[in-house]
């Protein structure tokens, strides 16, 4: 691959990752899944020093994630929105530039709407989780789509958790 093509592929990967952040921030689940290939797999994982084991907190296929988000309106959920501050640290392309591994550092903040007392809490922002995205993407016709995302949490204190993929 030429360096121009490489640069374009890296930009495509970054573009997809950052668009996914915006879609997740805005709870546009369908738009998020449109950035994912049909064979996409999603997981939230963490290592626990308490039990000295790697853990999976959530995992599923593209269909599983579509189903999960479709069912959300039937559930009681903390409606405090989450927003991401993400920085793509690395993008590593394969030899022909059709696949990429990317590592993104992400801090997810929660701005309270619901709260223990919304009168007091609503509008306050706090760090919800510290994490990294480990993504695998497929690049076709200049567009990158997620094949795999592992959201690896540093945070293991998840006070109310979330009904939403991170």
């Amino acid at each position: 691959m030429t360096s121009d093509k490489n640069a374009a592929a890296v930009e495509a990967v970054k573009n997809t990752i950052y668009r996914a952040c915006l879609n997740l921030d805005q709870e546009k689940w369908t738009d998020w899944l449109d950035l994912c290939a049909d064979d996409f797999h999603y997981a939230i994982k963490a290592y626990s020093p308490e039990i000295r084991n790697d853990m999976t907190y959530l995992a599923g296929s593209r269909d599983d994630m579509a189903n999960l988000t479709e069912m959300l309106p039937k559930h009681n959920t903390d409606r405090s929105p989450l927003s991401r501050h993400a920085t793509v640290y690395t993008v590593d392309l394969n030899d022909d530039g059709t696949e990429a591994d990317a590592v993104t550092s992400v801090a997810i903040y929660q701005t309270r709407l619901d709260g223990t007392s919304s009168h007091v809490d609503a509008g306050s922002t706090h760090l919800f989780v510290s994490a990294k995205y480990y993504d695998k993407l497929r690049i076709e016709n200049g567009t990158a789509k997620f094949v795999e995302r592992v959201t690896r949490l540093d945070t293991r204190r998840l006070d109310r958790g979330s009904h939403w993929p991170l």
């Binding site: 084991n53 069912m71 998840l158 109310r160 958790g161």
Partner: protein, 425 residues
């Protein structure tokens, strides 16, 4: 139904009797909370971790009970022991990590010893003091190592490998005796073969610990959970028994959960725990704040650590069989997470609800009545479990749950607190 003014709002609800409501101050009063730590939490067996978290000799776990730092170790003889995690020299906490191994040395100490980093005093896995730095120079012959061992705590491994600790040396019951028949419904399922923890996370919630325990105990709140309504809420569900046992424990009986009624969910029968019926679901609520919850294929355990009158830490564990194949373990983890994980369908909803209770019942809020008066023949929406819990609480605290400024008095004789056929002798 008319609204109430300030006076009628404070009056006991008409039609309900003592024992069928409690005063919200027991959830919010600082003095009562401090008293609970000494009269309840320091007097009961408390499950603190699972033996699979310290599988090898010299492994350890640390935790607190009623603010007291505790360390659990596994000795070279494989025995699990518990001690106060406090150095007898200057009162420093000996081990500050949540878990690890003493097999390797530390910057201040030798391998195979617990070492206080402050002045390098060292202790073996039985809690004996093994080394005092510059012992002779400082203490000559006035102080002996045998007189400065660690404070040993009562400790048992029981019920599927959980590690139980009691701070009270006068506790005269084993864990088996203390839990009694409350353990029976799951004993064979968890004791058939070794278990292993696959999930851990914690939450710190702004509510009293008893509010979380109440939520685990009463199922009337299934109206909160779309998942539980759609997979339950049939005749078999409403016939689930709610049984009470000595020492404040409560068991919610099983029924066959119809997981396939929730879109994307399937039967859990392929990886049922031993001796469990297909898609069964049992719950054991141990006084004062321990919960075992087995939905056929995955065991959940909640361990509560009260932090203040309006703050509790809950540690959530998920367990499977140690013998699981990778495929079986993956299935159990998925079953556990889909409902009970931090991103699962139900746990988030429960935590929202109790946070709302905490927000409405903090220390500065005016006291109010909390109702526990549902009677449905000891079935799933009967609030007998909470009535039973608070009667035990009242006895241990010598306070009347419906008016904690008064000493304990038993509820009316005909108020059903316990399932008569299920009581232990």
């Amino acid at each position: 139904m008319p609204t109430r003014n300030a006076q009628t709002w404070r009056e006991p609800p008409k039609g309900l009797r003592q024992g069928e409501w409690i005063d919200s101050r027991i959830y919010s009063d600082s003095e009562i909370f401090e008293e609970e730590l000494s009269k309840v939490w320091k007097k009961c067996w408390i499950a603190v971790c699972h033996e699979s978290e310290l599988p090898e000799p010299y492994d350890f776990r640390t935790m607190t009970i009623a603010r007291e730092p505790v360390i659990v170790t596994r000795g070279p003889d494989k025995k699990v022991r518990a001690f106060l995690n406090v150095c007898p020299h200057r009162g420093n906490m000996i081990e500050m990590r949540p878990s690890g191994s003493f097999k390797e040395g530390t910057p201040s100490g030798n391998p195979k010893h617990m070492t206080c980093m402050f002045h390098a005093w060292q202790f073996d896995m039985k809690g004996n003091c093994a080394y005092i730095s510059r012992e002779k120079e400082g203490y000559q012959d006035r102080l002996s190592r045998k007189d400065v061992g660690l404070r040993k705590l009562k400790c048992e491994v029981y019920f599927g490998g959980f590690v139980w600790v009691c701070l009270d040396d006068e506790m005269d019951m084993s864990v088996a005796e203390w839990g009694g028949q409350a353990f029976d419904c799951l004993q064979k399922a968890v004791d058939e073969e070794p278990l292993e923890v696959f999930h851990y996370h914690k939450a710190i919630i702004p509510c009293n610990y008893k509010l979380w325990h109440d939520t685990n105990s009463e199922f009337y709140h299934d109206y909160l959970h779309y998942h539980n309504r759609i997979t339950g809420f049939n005749d078999e569900y409403f016939a689930r028994k709610n049984s009470s046992y000595d020492n404040g424990h409560v068991v919610v009986g099983s029924f066959k959960v119809r997981y396939d009624q929730y879109k994307g969910f399937d039967s859990r029968a392929d990886v049922s725990f031993p001796h469990m019926e297909e898609n069964a679901w049992y719950m054991i609520d141990m006084f004062p704040g321990i919960n075992f919850n087995l939905r056929g294929s995955a065991l959940r355990c909640d361990l509560m650590t009260p932090l203040g009158p309006n703050e509790v830490m809950i540690e959530f564990r998920g367990l499977g069989l140690k013998s699981d194949t990778p495929e079986q373990r993956e299935a159990r983890i998925e079953h556990h997470n889909s409902i009970w994980g931090p991103f699962g369908r139900n746990l988030h909803e429960d935590l929202i609800a109790v946070s709302g209770q905490g927000g409405a019942m903090h220390e500065m809020a005016e006291p109010r009545r909390i109702l526990h008066g549902r009677h449905e023949n000891h079935t799933i929406h009967d609030e007998v479990g909470m009535r039973h819990f608070y009667d035990t609480w009242g006895k241990m605290m010598n306070r009347l749950p419906s008016d904690p400024t008064k000493p304990y008095a038993p509820p009316p004789d005909d108020l059903e607190l316990e399932e008569p056929v299920a009581r232990t002798a």
